[in-house]
């Protein structure tokens, strides 16, 4: 009993809060994917690789050309937005009427391309931005400034995207487009334009994630592998296209990883998170926030 009570110490609290901060990172990553995958129902398996390219862009601008972080960031966001639009234009657009599995495959090919492009162009070295932000300390507990930033960005981003999606005409059109593409023209909607806007927006959000992730992680051609699968799981756990759900799911996942890691092994924390995901799918097949049928 005492041993059991022992775990309720300051470290538990720290783990909980760190879980929340990790949740911020994951939520930020899931945000753009949720737009693409959840709302317009297009599969970008290579989403995390777009983030990787964005991280390289930041690295080179800041480390190599000495551009200030805050000037480099908008450029990176723009760059990844353009990449997103290009990805749509070159790869997805020809496959819009094909089954989703073909999109998965094609963007999987793009994943290879981006990884090996990074290998060829930037080499296999791990690279680090070398910016080290201060630490926030509350008594015995310390927190990462960089993560706090991601957290805030994710929160603001989520609210902004949510408002955009529900309040504006373009946002409504984005939600409508996966449901009936053919009649969009009857509404006066240029479907091509909506797809490009959405893809660019998804790309921009990936770029935003890149700007914040580069503060915390080394960049290398395979950094996407650390984030890719879990980002997809979060989107689905939250309910496809449900931004609030996705946001919450990111935190649930992060807490499981964080607390699972604290109570048992880090490795089993991930097993737990995956298993939790599967079980949740059985209990709430349409996402965390969905009402039961």
């Amino acid at each position: 009993m005492q041993a059991f009570l022992d775990i309720f110490d300051i470290y538990l609290l720290e783990a909980v809060i760190n879980g929340i901060l990790l949740g911020g990172v994951l939520a930020l990553l899931a945000l753009g994917l949720n737009l693409i995958f959840g709302v317009i129902d297009v599969t970008w398996i290579c989403y995390a690789e777009l983030v990787m390219i964005g991280m390289y862009a930041m690295y080179f601008m800041v480390q190599y050309y000495g551009i200030s972080y805050f000037i480099a960031a908008p450029f990176t966001i723009l760059l990844v937005a353009i990449l997103g639009a290009l990805l749509h234009y070159l790869v997805i657009a020809p496959l819009l009427t094909a089954p989703p599995i073909n999109q998965l495959l094609a963007t999987g090919g793009v994943l290879f391309v981006l990884q090996s492009f990074a290998t060829v162009a930037f080499g296999i070295d791990f690279r680090n931005l070398g910016i080290r932000l201060p630490v926030l300390a509350f008594g015995d507990m310390n927190f990462s400034y960089a993560r706090l930033l991601s957290f805030v960005a994710a929160l603001v981003g989520m609210v902004a995207v949510y408002l955009f999606m529900t309040r504006t005409f373009t946002g409504t059109a984005i939600r409508a487009i996966s449901q009936d593409r053919q009649i969009m023209a009857l509404m006066g909607v240029d479907t091509k334009r909506i797809y490009i806007i959405t893809s660019a927006l998804g790309g921009a959000l990936a770029g935003l994630a890149a700007c914040l992730l580069v503060l915390q992680y080394d960049v290398h051609p395979f950094v996407g592998l650390s984030f890719g699968p879990i980002t997809f799981l979060i989107c689905v756990l939250g309910g496809l296209g449900n931004f609030i759900g996705g946001f919450i799911a990111a935190f649930v996942f992060a807490e499981i990883i964080s607390l699972g890691g604290l109570f048992s092994d880090l490795e089993w924390g991930y097993v737990l998170a995956f298993a939790f995901f599967i079980v949740m799918m059985f209990i709430r097949p349409a996402g965390l926030l969905a009402r039961r049928r």
Partner: protein, 234 residues
């Protein structure tokens, strides 16, 4: 207002319309009748730009519709209520209506148009937050017409608006067509329900196997032997 000249249209290698000529004058209500697969829906699609004619010209108030990109045709004042309604099933009624006012020109008058539509269909106002896909057939039909009216059109294309509706509602729909007409809108309506439709339109075209077989005022059509035999079950 609308004029079609020698229009051919089809799907891939299959031709569905042959040399169609058709006119709709401002303020008129015009019906199109004909058997299944005659090409009525194709005709509507070709007007609203969902498919492009193989040949021929289409003009809306002297603007060349064929040369206008599909998504700009709405702003010429043409609103199309497609066959089977085609609502966005997982959007709320509100959002479906919002999509109807997507066009730049219509966005400014969104609130105003919404009031008009809700006045026409109080049922929609009750259900404004329901997902369109879970509504009953009649409710969906109201929503589809409402959505089309949101763009403040001059010409309303209705493709079988009475299909699958309860008799009272069918009557309501035709009443509605009358009211819409009375409010100054021009209507082109495709119907299988020949008897009823001929009561609300001024003129009608009979289309068979992709060609216009005959046309005339409703009275003429009602009296015509071909129409009587084939469509009125007399």
């Amino acid at each position: 207002m609308l004029e079609l000249r020698s229009v051919d249209a089809g799907y891939g290698s299959f031709q569905a319309l042959f040399d169609v000529n058709l006119d709709v004058k401002a303020g008129e209500a015009v019906g199109v009748i004909g058997p299944n697969g005659a090409g009525k829906t194709t005709l509507m699609r070709v007007i609203s730009g969902l498919i492009r004619p193989l040949r021929g010209s289409i003009r809306m108030e002297r603007v060349d519709v064929v040369a206008t990109p599909a998504h700009r045709i709405v702003s010429l004042g043409i609103a199309h209520v497609p066959e089977n309604r085609r609502l966005f099933p997982r959007l709320s009624v509100d959002d479906n209506l919002k999509m109807g006012a997507f066009m730049k020109e219509a966005r400014g008058k969104y609130a105003e148009r919404l009031d008009i539509v809700f006045e026409l269909f109080p049922r929609l106002k009750e259900r404004r937050h329901q997902m369109a896909g879970t509504m009953s057939g009649g409710e969906q039909q109201m929503c589809a017409i409402g959505r089309a009216l949101m763009s403040n059109p001059k010409l309303l294309l209705l493709d079988e608006p009475s299909a699958g509706l309860a008799p009272v509602v069918v009557q309501q729909v035709f009443q509605l067509v009358k009211r819409i007409r009375a409010s100054g809108l021009t209507v082109l309506i495709v119907e299988q329900n020949v008897q009823q439709v001929l009561r609300v339109v001024d003129r009608a075209y009979l289309i068979e196997a992709g060609t216009i077989r005959s046309s005339g005022t409703s009275a003429e059509m009602l009296a015509s032997d071909t129409v009587k035999e084939a469509y009125l079950g007399v």
